[in-house]
Symmetry: C2
């Protein structure tokens, strides 16, 4: 029995999110069916992040256990012949038995893309949120910077969140502009349910002038969800990267539990 | 009666190309149906470029005549409520009666995108050609530069081309690299049928080492289609921009015929 870690890219447009569920097809289910065929035994995968319906992933991670003799680095080749073209495995590697894709993740980065122009885009309709009203970039960038550091993000969680603590460390929070495309990147140790989309919804309100650039600081102080904007739509969001501490790959029996 | 010029963006993935045809749904047909509803009279559009099935457009142009009183700049708003999300009108403007979207075009630019990495991409599968074998960028960039200037592109035309002359002027031909994405941009006065895709197929052969960087020069000298590579797949190609001379917008009765 060996534990394998996959890096998976997917276009979330046509899926009901990562996690297997009763209504609608999930990425996890499609991946498990391909793995079950490839390995010749029932396979269950554990993903690093349970992305919502419509959210994309450049670097989702998922682990599973198998008795198969497929060399770990061959999994992309084997699985990509079976998977639909909107799911592509980029990497496979053996990890210690105690490795856990979700609980051992020590860093995640997300990217949210906005197209800020008069008319919607045909080509970017599934990956960018269209905002037709001009946004004030300087105000948004100023607010984005105030997220960096360790804060209690209690106000930033959608109902349905199950995290034990709401304190998170944000290491990077940057908004860049290229022509009419705004790209927001956030990197932190972990994220609450819908946290990035609530941040982006608030940034848009700040860019509109409906909220002030100190909105995040007020939400930290008050813990009030209403200090923040609405949850931005799923399709602009991409799970870009999931990181693990180097020890996670080296020490078979050591488990470091990170709260999600 | 007034003549209107539209700028149209589309994702070509689900269309049988620009031009109306018997088998499969064309972008032209979808646009004409929306215009016919909007204007309350049968509308026929004339596009600047007859893009193939799967080819995208950021800036296709098309003109039509109408008796409708819709202000020209309102066409994007009116049409985008009727069109499917993979077709989006970006601009509408009144043009002189003698304006012709195809024959008056004096410049076109195309972009071709390649993902040069081991495994295919889920997110870019419809807009980038995946090439898993490492390509030698320096050789490709050198060859791309040899296209600039006025040449006889007789060897660069797919069968089915109808152009009267095969001499074209290329003003820009540049290959850039960002991480594993190669972006090829070409700008010229006009293009033969499948010319850009034949150029890209040849560039890939040059990057592989199957052809030499002087392949384009040899094809100019010999006129031999076999000196060039295969036609690259449609889905990596985008019609980026179509240009008209300033006079085309100003002088009602002057028609400048450019061979396509």
């Amino acid at each position: 029995m060996s534990r394998i870690l996959l890096t998976v890219e997917y276009d979330g447009t046509n899926y009901a999110g990562w996690q297997r569920q009763l209504n609608g097809l999930a990425v996890q289910q499609v991946l498990e069916e391909a793995l079950t065929r490839a390995c010749g035994e029932p396979i269950t995968v554990t993903g690093a992040s349970r992305t919502d319906a419509g959210v994309h992933a450049l670097g989702q991670r998922a682990h599973f256990d198998t008795n198969s003799r497929i060399p770990p680095e061959k999994y992309p080749f084997v699985l990509n012949t079976m998977l639909p073209p909107d799911i592509r495995v980029q990497e496979g590697r053996a990890v210690p038995d105690g490795f856990h894709a979700r609980f051992m993740a020590c860093g995640k980065s997300y990217t949210y893309r906005i197209l800020n122009r008069r008319h919607a885009s045909a080509l970017h309709r599934c990956t960018h949120l269209h905002v037709p009203v001009p946004l004030a970039l300087d105000r948004m960038a100023e607010a984005a910077g105030t997220l960096v550091g360790t804060h209690d993000f209690a106000a930033f969680e959608a109902s349905g969140g199950t995290a034990k603590t709401t304190v998170r460390e944000i290491r990077e929070s940057v908004l860049t502009e290229e022509k009419d495309e705004l790209v927001y990147r956030i990197y932190g140790n972990a994220f609450l349910y819908n946290m990035v989309r609530i941040i982006v919804g608030t940034l848009i309100d700040i860019g509109h002038g409906r909220k002030e650039p100190d909105a995040f600081q007020r939400a930290f102080e008050t813990g009030d969800r209403l200090a923040l904007g609405v949850t931005a739509p799923a399709h602009g969001l991409e799970l870009t990267r999931v990181e693990y501490p180097p020890e996670a790959f080296q020490m078979p029996e050591t488990v470091r539990w990170h709260d999600e």
